[in-house]
């Protein structure tokens, strides 16, 4: 943790800058520089960082806990300790408190009652909506798409709805390697192997010479590119677009309610 001029601020349990609109404004810019790459502009969640506008957060409750997490990171997650992500200057204690003031200023209370019905959403997820053919929640479901157990706690309702209605607009992030700048995205791939087998699936990972693919039957293929007859990638997601005629707004709200109920446990 950074020490120095502002170390007196670190000892506090509560943000010494709480409720200060100027501090929140300064925190907004600090947030953009230090946090937005993962947590998104406006803290509304990005590819790998959760939405921070929810009042109820998975890892933190108090200001002191939030300070601790920003300073030291969260082991086992992509959340790095302050100043260790290699991009930009780390934050001083004062700047961390400004960011906390900013995040608090954004927080929206969860609606008293969920818009959808979680039980019905679960039925849809595992039933008529066919989500579980490709997505797993709490150990049950398919493997082709991203695992969704925690998604309801880390993404906004709007973000989840957008990924269902328009999955190609922003491809989900997959494998994140420790030393790599960019995570793998859920790109779809069509290829023909050297012996003429046609494969359609998603890229689990890729480099200039190899590609690791899961096909629609969840078979994993480990391939060398120079041995393929053809290899085509697409940013058109394999996930179908769920238009309202396929999945009603109400049904979608039910699924969101289910994912939120699981993801915020």
């Amino acid at each position: 943790m950074v020490t120095g001029v502002w170390s007196d601020l670190a000892a506090d349990d509560r943000n010494p800058l709480a409720g200060d609109p100027k501090a929140a404004k300064a925190g907004e810019y600090e947030f953009r520089i230090n946090c937005a790459l993962c947590h998104g502009l406006g803290a509304r969640g990005g590819g790998r960082g959760p939405d921070l506008t929810r009042a109820q957060k998975k890892h933190t409750h108090s200001d002191a806990e939030m300070f601790q997490i920003i300073s030291s990171g969260i082991p086992g997650t992509a959340m790095p300790a302050n100043g260790t992500n290699g991009q930009g200057v780390g934050m001083t204690d004062r700047e961390i408190w400004q960011i906390i003031a900013y995040i608090r200023s954004l927080e929206v209370k969860a609606p008293a009652k969920a818009l959808g019905n979680a039980a019905r959403g679960k039925d849809l997820f595992y039933g008529d909506a066919n989500c579980s053919l490709c997505h797993m929640v709490e150990g049950k479901g398919g493997r082709l798409g991203p695992e969704l157990t925690s998604i309801g706690g880390s993404r906004t309702r709007e973000a989840i709805i957008e990924s269902v209605r328009n999955p190609s607009r922003r491809l989900a992030w997959g494998l994140t390697e420790a030393t790599k700048e960019f995570p793998q995205e859920y790109e779809s791939v069509t290829l023909v192997t050297g012996d003429g087998k046609q494969i359609k699936g998603v890229t689990l990972n890729e480099d200039s010479f190899t590609v690791q693919v899961m096909d629609q039957d969840e078979k994993v293929y480990l391939l060398e590119k120079d041995k393929l007859r053809s290899f085509q990638k697409s940013r058109e997601s394999l996930m179908p677009k769920y238009n309202p005629d396929v999945l009603s707004d109400k049904g979608l709200e039910d699924i969101v309610a289910y994912l939120v109920s699981v993801g915020t446990k």
């Binding site: 200057v89 934050m91 001083t92 390697e177 700048e181 010479f209």
Partner: protein, 548 residues
């Protein structure tokens, strides 16, 4: 045509004619069979540094020689046999964070640096360490962009590193013991060193990092023997100095213009060419009206005095963090003495290195910030490219078309090789007060979704035309530098951990090896006992490759 290196008798070391002839023959024999000329631990004299071409088995400076070409004359590993290249050894540093070091090799010993100002000497044939050094850094340093170091300089019996707490240190090259240690600046005001210094004559030349904190940038030269500072060139001129009028009010005091990448040296004119970085705050021009000299410039300094002979500013009044700190490469072509730079702003510049006048400027990546040039041929920024309060998209992004990745120039193909990326950013600006030691960007930038996925390339540019002759597209953008060799090869690394050899003429990939960690460093080549190696840092290790 002027010879590239023409030395008088004094500079050669005043050997009698017969001894010189004998030495010449010996050198020729050694070059051919790659036998060690000097025993391990021999002094690296300034004559050896000047004549590095005569000992191709060694890699004596950050870029391999004073020209900045990162070209190895070794050709044992070549386009015909590179397919059988294999790993010879790996040295694990055992630390986290990026490795940006280029090793030096002198007479069978490899010297390199690691995270948190580690330095070490290895047996270049086996990777076994001879000594290890780690700086005891203060706990409150806040270096921008990783706790990195790009390498050392060697001269006499010492190696030199700049540290993250803004010291310059000389280590004994046989033991790693500290010989001298001088504080160049106060790290608490955001100063640091990440650059590999350059040893020139009796001097160690080094440039400051800290453009993110509103430092006043400088380039220093220290006496290699004693550590006594011989000169300092402030990259932001003070009151009464030419160029001071290009800063509004007191903005010069915190004007940035760091000098965090290694320059080159022309012994014929005794000039050091050193590039400089962004003005501060990096993304907010308000409050520093003017061109902001000598930010984002190439400086030609007298090596003995640090006095400036000429400057060329690539991006005037920069608001996009486009440091011009890329290694400038000296190229002699058609009787012209040129210096070329693939700039972060997306243009490839060729200058006359005698006068500093622009010869050509051509885009080599995706750019939207300029569509016109001034009378001298310099790209001019569009007004609407300036960051706004709400933010808007400009290409290249803040990371640039290229960045610190070392380029290479191959005199055999006459091509300039550079790592490039196509990425656009949303640039927004905001008032930010200066506080010593605090981030001073005046802004934020954020990758724009418009250009997703971001593309990374190795590009081969013909300096005569400025056109890209071939390009190799990586799976994702890489931070690796490039090495070119007389074996008709170009070596580079990628973000996925591959070390790749390509045909220097065509760009065709010929060989690769998976190192298991992303590359943020540049490769180099050396030979020991007549065997050529190619080495690169990846993940948290140094790898050396050779033929079976």
């Amino acid at each position: 045509m002027r010879g590239r290196v023409k030395l008088n008798r004094r500079e050669r070391g005043d050997l009698p004619q017969s001894a010189r002839r004998f030495a010449f023959v010996l050198i020729m024999i050694c070059c051919t069979c790659l036998v060690l000329l000097h025993p391990a631990g021999a002094q690296v004299t300034s004559e050896r540094l000047l004549n590095s071409a005569k000992e191709p088995q060694n890699w004596l400076t950050y870029s391999g020689d004073y020209s900045g070409r990162r070209f190895s004359p070794l050709n044992q590993i070549n386009a015909t046999n590179v397919r059988s290249l294999s790993a010879k050894w790996v040295y694990q540093i055992g630390a986290t964070g990026k490795l940006e070091t280029t090793p030096l090799v002198v007479d069978g010993i490899l010297y390199a640096t690691g995270q948190d100002d580690r330095a070490f000497a290895l047996d270049a044939r086996t990777g076994r360490p001879i000594w290890l050094y780690q700086r005891q850094l203060p706990s409150d340093i806040r270096p921008c962009c990783g706790r990195v170091n790009r390498g050392l300089a060697i001269s006499g019996d010492k190696v030199f590193i700049g540290t993250l707490d803004a010291h310059v240190i000389a280590l004994d090259s046989k033991t790693g013991n500290v010989v001298w240690d001088v504080a160049a600046a106060d790290y608490r005001t955001g100063h640091s060193f990440t650059v590999a210094p350059l040893a020139v004559k009796n001097l160690v030349v080094i440039g400051a990092s800290g453009g993110e904190y509103g430092i006043r940038g400088f380039i220093d030269a220290y006496d290699a023997a004693t550590g006594e500072r011989q000169w300092r060139f402030y990259t932001v001129p003070g009151p009464g100095e030419p160029g001071h009028e290009t800063w509004e009010g007191d903005s010069w005091k915190v004007g940035g213009a760091p000098a965090w990448n290694t320059g080159t040296y022309d012994p014929v004119t005794n000039q050091i060419f050193w590039p400089t970085g962004n003005p501060a705050p990096s993304n907010r021009g308000e409050g520093r009206a003017g061109d902001n000299l000598y930010s984002n410039s190439l400086l030609a300094l007298n090596a003995d005095t640090g006095k400036m002979n000429w400057y060329f500013q690539f991006t005037k009044h920069d608001e996009h963090d486009w440091d011009a700190t890329q290694v400038p490469v000296m190229i002699d072509s058609g009787g012209k003495h040129l210096i070329a730079q693939a700039n972060r702003n997306g243009f490839f510049y060729v200058l006359d290195r005698t006068t500093g006048k622009l010869v050509s400027a051509n885009a080599y990546g995706k750019i939207t910030w300029s569509d016109t040039k001034d009378a001298e041929g310099r790209p001019i920024a569009k007004k609407e490219a300036s960051p706004t309060l709400e933010g808007h998209t400009v290409c290249p992004g803040a990371l640039g078309t290229t960045n610190f990745m070392a380029p290479a120039y191959n005199p055999q193909t006459s091509l300039f090789y550079v790592t490039a990326r196509d990425q656009c950013d949303i640039f927004s600006t905001a008032p930010q007060p200066y506080e010593p030691g605090h981030a001073y960007y005046g802004s934020a930038y954020f990758p724009s979704e418009e250009a997703r996925p971001y593309a990374g390339f190795l590009k081969a540019i013909d300096p005569a035309t400025g056109q890209v002759k071939w390009q190799f597209q990586h799976t994702s953008p890489t931070w690796s530098g490039v090495l070119s060799t007389a074996g008709g090869l170009v070596f580079t690394g990628d973000a996925e951990g591959n070390f790749i050899a390509l045909d220097a003429a065509s760009g065709k990939p010929l060989w690769h090896f998976q190192m298991g960690g992303a590359v943020y460093a540049a490769p180099m080549a050396f030979a020991v006992d007549g065997k050529q190696y190619v080495a690169i840092a990846a993940g948290s290790a140094i790898y050396a490759f050779g033929l079976p």
